[in-house]
Symmetry: D2
Subunit: 209 residues, 4 copies
Amino acid sequence: MKNLKAVILNCSLKKSSEPSNTDALLKEFIQVFDSKHMKSEVIRVADYQVAYGISADMGDGDEWPKILDKIKHSDIVILASPVWLGEKSSISKKVLERLNGSSSETNEKGQPIFYNKAAGAVVTGNEDGAKNAAGDLIFGLAQLGFAIPPNPIAYWVGDAGPGPSYIEAKGYKNEFTLSNAQMASHNLIHFAEMLQKHPIPTEGNASEE
Amino acid sequence: MKNLKAVILNCSLKKSSEPSNTDALLKEFIQVFDSKHMKSEVIRVADYQVAYGISADMGDGDEWPKILDKIKHSDIVILASPVWLGEKSSISKKVLERLNGSSSETNEKGQPIFYNKAAGAVVTGNEDGAKNAAGDLIFGLAQLGFAIPPNPIAYWVGDAGPGPSYIEAKGYKNEFTLSNAQMASHNLIHFAEMLQKHPIPTEGNASEE
Amino acid sequence: MKNLKAVILNCSLKKSSEPSNTDALLKEFIQVFDSKHMKSEVIRVADYQVAYGISADMGDGDEWPKILDKIKHSDIVILASPVWLGEKSSISKKVLERLNGSSSETNEKGQPIFYNKAAGAVVTGNEDGAKNAAGDLIFGLAQLGFAIPPNPIAYWVGDAGPGPSYIEAKGYKNEFTLSNAQMASHNLIHFAEMLQKHPIPTEGNASEE
Amino acid sequence: MKNLKAVILNCSLKKSSEPSNTDALLKEFIQVFDSKHMKSEVIRVADYQVAYGISADMGDGDEWPKILDKIKHSDIVILASPVWLGEKSSISKKVLERLNGSSSETNEKGQPIFYNKAAGAVVTGNEDGAKNAAGDLIFGLAQLGFAIPPNPIAYWVGDAGPGPSYIEAKGYKNEFTLSNAQMASHNLIHFAEMLQKHPIPTEGNASEE
């Protein structure tokens, strides 16, 4: 069996020159991936010139194809987003739109190209909105052809109202959040392994061309 | 000017024989209404036999008409819901469905019957989901013909994961929640007064029959 | 390998004495299940006295335990809902709440009891709201421990505004809807088979008690 | 009374060099505004270099301040979005994030700066997702301080699955969509007029500084 690879898209509004609370929670996932000798990479989407639109390559300096290529070569994909106004970030929505631009591409068996990849979501915010954000991401990923394991998300938010975010609030001490990160990361690995050994049969889901 | 009246539908899954955390936050609203010598009433929807369906009276012992009558005679309507699985309660959704059953009824001017009433939402939960719940309620109310003032909601939730609810967690000490309750209750009154003095003109919104 | 079993919860607001448009679309799934010699059953939830609350058995004539038992003995679970006000039905939300009441129950390995079951969603309405409804159902199911295959939904809605529903509008001639029903039903079978042969390992997701 | 002004943010993913289906539906609004001798302007947000972030001016060539200035000087604000994957566009979410960056600015009375402005939403797509998109926009606007009149949205989508968009499908012949556009545009004017003559009193909503 070839080594599994995970790619994590951190859809923070900030570039990687600034610290991201979402990155801090992602470390829990990376530790698990490391412990399994898996390769994993966090991509700060805001570092790239990702164009708006619904196609795989919008041209004119569009850097999405670089990210898409990494997704195509990965077994696990995680979309990570901060919470703003109780919702996922605009950058995470742009990522869903760009993934949608590849929805008619198929693998050599005629299945959508995201088949046989496991996907999950990670969300942090200073307050309410994590499940709303995660739900949009998970449903978008499932529609696009990713497989969603049970308990596919981890999140942290503080109580109602303005307040400190994950790092400052020591969210990494929240047992619920940590236990979700364990469940999500391991279940993503379980599903990616299962799908590598037993790819999804084509009946019902493969186009003829 | 006649006295304003507020009706609050607490869509807790529990009957009024059990304490409701949402009720505790509603007290902040009632204090404001009292200070203005307004009448207000909290209806625990779970105490009533409210049938499923999309019409004003489903018959067969349906008690929705009792609640609907109170809504028709009120100037302010608040939908209040707990959070379950990051969403509003099933009872609050049933209330939206039943309100929808009156969406083609019109007032004497031919406008939908919920015109000239101001509406808001109140949500409590032990964790994440308040804005998702409140957003569904506010949008449903706006579609049905209620007027939505600015900052029309108040909510309290704890930080990520299982934990104590509003009363036990002393959510009533949360300044953000309290300040939202002040804004929402006063803005509901401001709008109800404005709509009583200056009802919405019929141009564009009245049916001819 | 034992025969797979599917249970479909039709969360229409109407009892089975009335025809359901959602039922009509569910027939596409049942044909596929039949072709694989699988057992499947459609439960019209409105026919049962399902209590409100968040526990496995609310007592006092609560009929949810009958439905829960069928879910426990099935390999595939489909939640089906009509669209009202652009959202899933109140009954489908009640089903999520009741499933949540079993979220701390574990199987003999210490995993949540819905592990190793595949789940999907089916939605019909006369107009807009299908993906919003389906997204809520899919995300709820994933949080509760079900596995979500790619393309896990089928839906039909007409264009914007009031109009005929699935049966009257001959939605069963909509190629997109039919092809989604094929994908969803087959992918649910593929995942149920995979999970039966290769149950999800316990690492990361099993409680110790 | 000074003349009312409307600003419409078309959050299409395309620049104005390409035709927008959402623009076509917006014409119904503009006709109504014209008939009242109101000024109105459609801004194609994709034409501007709008930075990511949560503040009024992100610097470094950020063109949001130009748009924000127009919003500040308008009485009616409409957010318009296409549907992608059953949701509002990433650009419309970016607009909400940027508006959020002004949420602590206040007018001369100490109220949030978007007070006394009426807001609505317009959505078009080739299929399902309009209410989900519109609901997010309406709730975001209400949280930010805009007033939401009854029936504040107009939308058009085709039936389930890929298909022609508004212009090609002659959505402008859909009576429901047109009647919603009449209701929404007139109710926005009714509320803007009411708020101009009777600004929202400060009790409960004004900060002291």
